[in-house]
Symmetry: C2
Subunit: 463 residues, 2 copies
């Protein structure tokens, strides 16, 4: 058995806080653009014959409509909200129970009016209406049909900039959801650590972690990484056995029903005890992470936090004797990126890499572009931090064969790496430590601070 949409819980109190928060969001939008806007929620996607993936509404839609409505659209103009969706098919009652009507939903989200979906085409001026194209060919086609155009327009780009500016900093309603996602994720990682003692495979730890997320009636915000091969950055296979000397890297995050995400990584020893070499590197990554978090505050450039992570890692590796030279110079020549080849983090919100459907419009301050430097090209965020931005701080250390065995890298970095000493650290494949950090005027608040990361605390938990 399986099929189609799920009914949803909707607030029944018409003066509810969801409606209030949504009103503020669209007033913010009206304050920065003039044209009418239509946002689509998207359609359920099929997984295999007759069996759909769970529905996930577009994040931009969720931001302004609040509820994961299927195959719906909203039209925003001058702070007014119109809802376009069809009433539930009465034949669906047998399969899905009583579903809320369009009018009930409209009241819940504080819409000014509600219409059947097909009336969307009758609203004018469609030519000067902007949208955010969904990244789904079928829906984009429908969007262009309805808007009577062939492709996205310059207006869409203006809208993307306006929405990015608003979504960059989270309001109270968003923070309440983000806190819930963070709390559930902390619980999931706890369960993962505790489960390790009796687990034989990566999958068993993943089951313990995702089981907690599901039990909290949330979903995974992204495909979980739970791996003893931490050097494969987006490793999403889980069949490896757990062996006593392994480190297990778990990058797992929950998402609330209305789409707000957490994104957390911990790395822990399968045996419950770090080897001396693992402890050295773990402490180095942890020091970099804590140093960076301490630096987070409004006004600071996120790029500088990234470079601070690079420098701290380079310093640590020099202290261990793995790198040779002056840390500043080593970072300048991207030597840190041999071991830390990604950015220190990214925006977090309704998407785990928030608003990356807009390219770098959200991540990069206007007029800035990505560097092509080996040590900077993966930096996903390059803006001065502002209060209520939520970012991840996630430095790491990895021994990626494709990087370390690359002939050009071997030549370029022959003298600065002590390759013989590095060989003694072979039991450190990959370590990443990641928390979700809210920027405040005075500094920051770590939403996932309740989750242990000190080696002693983790060893005790695994004990």
């Amino acid at each position: 058995m399986t099929e189609m949409p799920e009914p949803m819980q909707i607030p029944t109190n018409p003066s509810n806080s969801l409606a209030t928060a949504l009103r503020q969001r669209r007033e913010n939008l009206a304050g920065s653009i003039d044209m009418p806007v239509i946002l689509w929620s998207g359609k359920r996607k099929e997984r295999n014959a007759g069996s759909p993936f769970p529905f996930r509404a577009s994040s931009h839609f969720l931001y302004f409509a609040g509820l994961p409505l299927e195959d719906a659209a909203i039209r925003l103009e001058g702070g007014k909200l119109e809802l376009y969706m069809d009433d539930p098919n009465p034949k669906g009652i047998l399969w899905h129970g009583e579903m809320p009507s369009r009018d009930q939903i409209a009241r819940a989200i504080g819409a000014d009016a509600a219409f059947p979906k097909q009336e969307l085409q009758e609203r004018s001026p469609l030519e000067s209406t902007a949208t955010i194209p969904l990244q789904d060919r079928a829906v984009v086609w429908e969007q262009n049909q309805i808007l009577n155009r062939e492709r996205p327009t310059e207006l869409d780009r203006d809208l993307a900039k306006a929405i990015a500016a608003i979504r960059l900093c989270h309001d109270d309603a968003a923070l309440a959801e983000l806190l819930q996602a963070a709390a559930c994720t902390v619980q999931a990682h706890y369960a993962g650590m505790v489960s390790t003692r009796n687990a034989n495979t990566e999958a068993m730890v993943r089951g313990a972690m995702e089981g907690v997320i599901i039990a909290n009636n949330m979903q995974c915000a992204y495909n979980s990484i739970v791996t003893v091969r931490g050097e494969v950055l987006h490793n999403d296979i889980h069949h490896h056995p757990l062996k006593s000397g392994d480190l297990l890297l778990a990058d797992v995050g929950a998402e609330t029903q209305s789409g707000w995400a957490a994104d957390v990584t911990r790395t822990w020893p399968v045996s419950g005890k770090l080897s001396p070499t693992q402890r050295e590197i773990y402490n180095l990554v942890l020091a970099a992470q804590k140093t960076c978090i301490a630096k987070v505050r409004a006004g600071v450039e996120y790029r500088d936090i990234h470079l601070l992570a690079c420098r701290t890692i380079a310093e640590g590796l020099v202290a261990l004797g793995i790198l040779r030279g002056n840390p500043e110079d080593l970072v300048e020549m991207d030597a840190h990126a041999l071991f830390f080849p990604h950015g220190v983090g990214h925006l977090l919100g309704l998407d785990v890499h928030d608003m990356e459907d807009l390219g770098d419009i959200a991540g990069y301050e206007e007029s800035r572009v990505r560097s092509d430097r080996f040590g900077l090209c993966f930096l996903r965020l390059d803006r001065p931090l502002r209060p209520r931005m939520l970012v991840t701080i996630e430095p790491g250390f990895y021994q990626v064969p494709a990087i370390l065995n690359d002939r050009a890298n071997r030549e370029k970095y022959q003298e600065v790496v002590n390759w013989d000493l590095l060989a003694k650290f072979a039991d450190v494949r990959g370590i990443r430590i990641e928390d979700d950090v809210l920027v405040t005027e005075a500094g920051s608040e770590v939403l996932t601070a309740a989750l242990p990361k000190e080696p002693n605390d983790i060893e005790q938990l695994l004990g």
Copy 2:
């Protein structure tokens, strides 16, 4: 963190059993059609910005290619297999690790040749090549482009019939996978029952069940139903609290890495103890299920098993006094369908409703069509059973307000339902009991037989 494809485990022994099984499958296909065939695996679908759903290859592709290859195609002609896919992008190594090459995969699946994907367009005669269109607009468009046509053709229909005929009965390789999925699903339901004692919500039981599936490195074959509102047939919300008098209906099934599914339902009392009314109806549904399973064997019409379920339920309801009259007559007038408004089951294989992407081509014997009778229109399978078919047997009893309060139903069935007595059974919202049953020459084998369903056994487990 998150992103794109996952590497996979591929058999390294060139004379492997996967390759042998696949060769037999395509020889079967070559035995029934002449035209060349191209099958696409499909593309990864986006969930939200930059974050994809886990990839699920098309079931027809999986059947003939064995591995969940992403964005690949196979061409079958005269028993020969050609693989079309691109080698992994070397830049992906950092994110995904070393991925198997096209040639390695070709050897693993016993392909006769392997080419880059774009060479597919150069194979002729494309006009007389058949395919199974994927139900994804973007891919269908690409398929039609490559096949130089505007829409599916009559040849596609011939191919669909040929593939359905082959996939209806499972070979040994398929059965080995189906048994694994069934065993994992039994374990998941066990865990669900045991977890109920300490669970406050539907979601907590779901978490325990899906956690087991994930821990076994499998995935859910469909969106789980775990609900105290069993009368909503495809209820996939999970926020309800569990209350002492509730029945919990759990319809949850695992799917192996290569796509083979299980589909199992159990219903149990939250308190650990069925009320007298719940026990009466539970025993009635269980009797219907066991009677139907006992009837399964090669040569029997599945429709007759459905009608047997209807009759057994009608008899039981007459015995309880809820229905009045002769059971045969009651079934004839669809009175059973007031309480059992769906079919007794369906085909099971690579899809949970196997091959329903082909409409009724797989489910209905040639020249048969669906009835429009209230009591028969949801029957998904109407064929004589054959050895190695796998079917579900899942009778149920539900009190669906939309059916029981419907004015026309009230009038039509006024005299045959004892409405006052029915009101005493208000604590039975929905009960379904479902097992996966393999048809054999002599009878059947229940793949999920290890999972308790007798009231006493379940009550003991819930203890």
